[in-house]
Amino acid sequence: MNLKLRVWRQRSAAEKGKMVTYQVADVSPDMSFLEMLDVLNEQLILDGEDPVSFDHDCREGICGSCGVMINGRAHGNGLFDSHPQTATCQLHMRSFKDGDTIDVEPWRATAFPLIKDLAVDRSALDRIIQAGGYISAPTGTAPEAHSILVAKKDSDAAFDAATCIGCGACVAACPNASSMLFTSSKVVHLGLMPQGQPERDDRVVNMIHQQDLEGFGGCTNIGECSASCPKGISMENISRLNHDLLGALRAGARPKS
């Protein structure tokens, strides 16, 4: 099939960007969205033009590197009834029709400064993890694994939250550019495990504090995050986070300076 792409081109954060139109011919329905961009880029290189920069790595939907807005939707999630929620690399061109026009834009959020074209800096998410998204267990200190029992339902629910791949789609999709779904997935994963209890109050307070410092917006329960999440992380995690946060604040927990 033949497609018309309108792609956001911006050489750097300091320069102005714009949408640029490209025609891509002979797109196979079995191609992934990123393979279609590869084809465009090879064509651009041979034509002596600058190829489109975009982040990608595993191309199997698990590393969280890729992610673009496709026709205004993060990873294209929500555009196709028949297609499950995925990362951009797992969206295949069979979801599109010959002659379609597709808009491709980067994640847009204050906390995600643009690097080039479709690539943005998501290191703010790592700094939220640094603020408390871990269990302090220095190597070698661990007790025998079976000395810690975890109810299967808790372990399964923790796993569901822990599948977040940190792609940032939730932030890009949210009108407030909030990272609550990301943050809550880690708070809930660790908060459901017995190992995570000692740091539970401090964890939620510090992670929320860091989220604010990074310039992410507040959550107003719109739900675009969960609807755009390639892993289908539930908004229930945000409720659980709020519950933890209230409890922690009432118990006197305060962010580290």
Partner: protein, 648 residues
């Protein structure tokens, strides 16, 4: 063997394992004899760790906790992206929670045998010994492993073993283990013990007075090339499967760090040992950019078959039982669908070569869950394999709950890597190599669920103990950026990048990469012969020559430039491919993933030649024009009796 391909140098040997005590005591004895570094002195010592996968992430976090000053480098935007994240099936550990006869010795035995007797016994035994502590460590970090209703950890079985020793987190074990290491690493970054260099790619090693003292790296956002110094350098940069272009590795996975270290003097061991994973989604087009693995755990319940008749194009569901050939169950009645990966892959190739392959291009076999679904019920299959089935459906547009999956082997893992001793130190003092980047534990074939085990063993438990012995002699004399060795390395990197940008030819980097990959898969893939390898060795220098005169790399050095990153990696893959073929040609025997057509049993199984090839082939780089030099490390088997592998 023709002399022009290589020359033979002095043999090498590991001198660190204490051979005067029995194998079960060597690791504790080594730790006892190794020099220690007093906690107060650790903060005066700097260690560079390149890569943040299971091995690198675990090592950087652990060294940071221990009090060293750590500098952590990765090419992706976040340490959480490292390709360990994509490992699906599980991690082995000799816990014997199933009471099914498992033990450290059995895990050791299975791994040596699975590796087709081409691994070093001491390293494998240590791996088995520390395996149990890895599970303890990961549970303490909150890794949400699969559990049973009583709250205890669940296990599954895996290829090449008859016990259930594999711990897992649905089909995303690598992701969860990596996040455990990543969170430990982020904690150290917050604590200030680990300095972070995101989107920074190592492009050369700085060697001063024979010791590894730093790296040259390019900041991928600004394009700035700079030098970084330390008392020791740890490479945890993964494997080199992307030599084959199409592999299950991430697009960015590359050999540049280990290849540049090799060119600085680190020996490269067993480069021809590559693993072709049997359960991947078949190739479906020229434009395809990568292959996707379906976890080997699927072979626990899925049955592999092809039609008995060649060219049978019926819908698989309409082919009656007696017209199907469950060839693994037929040929290997005791291991059935759970034979090791190399065997499962080669048998898939054999049935396809016979014309019985399925799918559009005849390069595929069925993996069928109909019987398991009937036996266990669909909910049980969903719980065990749900995400894998979803992934398959997304990629192929077919529903595996209804139609059997089609699978075909794909390059997945490289057992070869930089040569290291028992301390995981390379032949360059101060350069340590861990995880898939080294060669040490899997011999000629890696068993399923052992890569995660090795990465974490090296990162959490082995390196943080052995590196002290080296660092105890430090801090070493300060190296500054004006040192001639640093200037030479920096200018070399700059010159190569500028040269790539200036060629301005007519072919893209990707077109060279595809050509190299196809050549390697066809001529140095699942089956190799003298003829195919000589053909490859004739062609690769031509590809290299054309690459350096006709590649077109757009953009600038001083900016974000993904085309330049790719070009530099492909330049190194081309050189490495040549060494892989030389190694494969010189090893005139079949072993594990290295199958030489000339060396097989009457039944078509790999036939080793222990008399002539029971050694590690460690290659020394020689400047252009001179053939590489082969150094042999003899392999002794004191505890596992050398035997022909049999899974029948």
């Amino acid at each position: 063997m023709a002399l022009e391909l290589f020359t033979v140098g002095a043999p090498i040997a590991d001198t660190k394992a204490p051979m005067d005590v029995p194998i079960g005591e060597r690791w504790s004895e080594r730790r006892f004899r190794a020099k220690l570094v007093n906690p107060a002195n650790r903060r005066k010592l700097t260690v560079i760790v390149v890569g943040t996968g299971l091995a690198g992430g675990a090592a950087a976090a652990t060294l940071g906790e221990a009090g060293y000053k750590v500098k952590s480098f990765w090419y992706q935007d976040s340490p959480r992206r490292a390709h360990s994240v994509a490992a699906q099936g599980g991690i082995n550990a000799a816990k014997n929670y199933r009471n099914d006869g498992d033990s450290v010795h059995r895990l050791f035995y299975d791994t040596v045998k699975g590796g087709d007797f081409r691994a070093r016994e001491n390293n494998v035994h240590r791996l088995a010994e520390v395996s149990a502590a890895i599970i303890d460590q990961c549970v303490a970090q909150g890794v949400p492993f699969a559990r049973e209703y009583g709250g205890l950890l669940d296990n599954r079985s895996f290829g090449g073993t008859q016990v259930s020793r594999t711990f897992y987190a649905r089909g995303q074990t690598g992701q969860q283990l990596l996040y455990g290491a990543y969170q430990a690493l982020e904690r150290q970054m917050a604590a200030g013990s680990v300095e972070q260099f995101a989107r920074t790619e190592m492009l050369d090693l700085i060697v001063v007075d024979g010791k590894a003292r730093g790296i040259v790296a390019r900041n991928l956002i600004t394009g700035e090339i700079s030098t970084h110094f330390a008392d020791a350098v740890v490479l945890a940069t993964g494997g080199y499967s992307n030599v084959f272009y199409l592999s299950t590795n991430a697009k960015g996975s590359n050999a540049t760090a280990i290849w540049r270290a090799h060119k600085r003097g680190a020996l490269f061991a067993n480069p021809c040992y590559t693993q072709i994973h049997p359960t991947c989604i078949p190739v479906h087009g020229e434009y395809q950019s990568k292959l996707t693995l379906m976890s080997e755990s699927l072979r626990n319940d899925g049955r592999v078959w092809v039609p008995k008749e060649r060219g049978d194009t019926r819908d698989p569901r309409e082919i009656p039982e007696d017209e199907r050939d469950y060839y693994l169950e037929r040929i290997y009645p005791s291991f059935g669908n759970l034979v090791p990966r190399d065997i499962a892959s080669r048998q898939a190739k054999n049935v396809c070569d016979e014309g019985r392959g399925v799918g559009p291009n005849g390069l595929g076999v069925y993996l069928d869950f109909a019987e398991a679904t009937e036996r266990l019920g669909r909910p049980a299959i969903e719980a065990k394999y749900g995400n894998l089935f979803d992934m398959y459906a997304q990629i192929t547009g077919e529903d595996p709950y209804e139609v059997p999956m089609r699978i075909y082997p794909a390059v997945h893992y490289t057992m070869g890597g930089l040569w290291v001793d028992y301390d995981l130190q390379s032949t360059i003092p101060g350069l340590f190599v861990i995880g898939e980047a080294n060669f040490s534990d899997h011999g000629a074939n890696r068993l399923g669920a052992s890569a995660l085990m090795q990465g974490l063993a090296d990162g959490y438990f082995v390196l943080p103990n052995t590196i002290n012995d080296y660092l105890a002699a430090g801090p070493f004399e300060k190296v500054d950026p004006q040192h001639p060795a640093a200037v030479e390395a920096l200018e070399g990197v700059r010159a190569q990048s500028e040269r790539l940008l200036s060629i301005n030819g007519t072919r893209t980097t990707a077109s060279f990469h595809r050509e190299l990959g196809r050549l390697m898969f066809d001529l140095c893939g699942m089956e190799r012969s003298e003829e195919s390898l000589r053909k490859a060795l004739d062609r690769i220098p031509e590809i290299r020559q054309e690459f350096w005169t006709n590649v077109k790399v757009p953009g600038e050095l001083g900016r974000f430039n993904q085309s330049l990153e790719h070009a530099g990696r492909v330049a190194d893959f081309i050189e490495l491919a040549e060494l892989m073929c030389v190694d494969a040609l010189h090893r005139n025997e079949s072993c594990g993933g290295h199958f030489r057509a000339e060396s097989q049993t009457p039944e078509g199984e790999a036939l080793r030649d222990d008399e002539n090839y029971a050694y590690v082939a460690a290659w020394e780089w020689t400047p252009e024009g001179a053939p590489p030099v082969l150094h042999k490390e003899a392999l002794e088997f004191e505890y596992v009796h050398l035997a022909q592998r049999s899974y029948k």
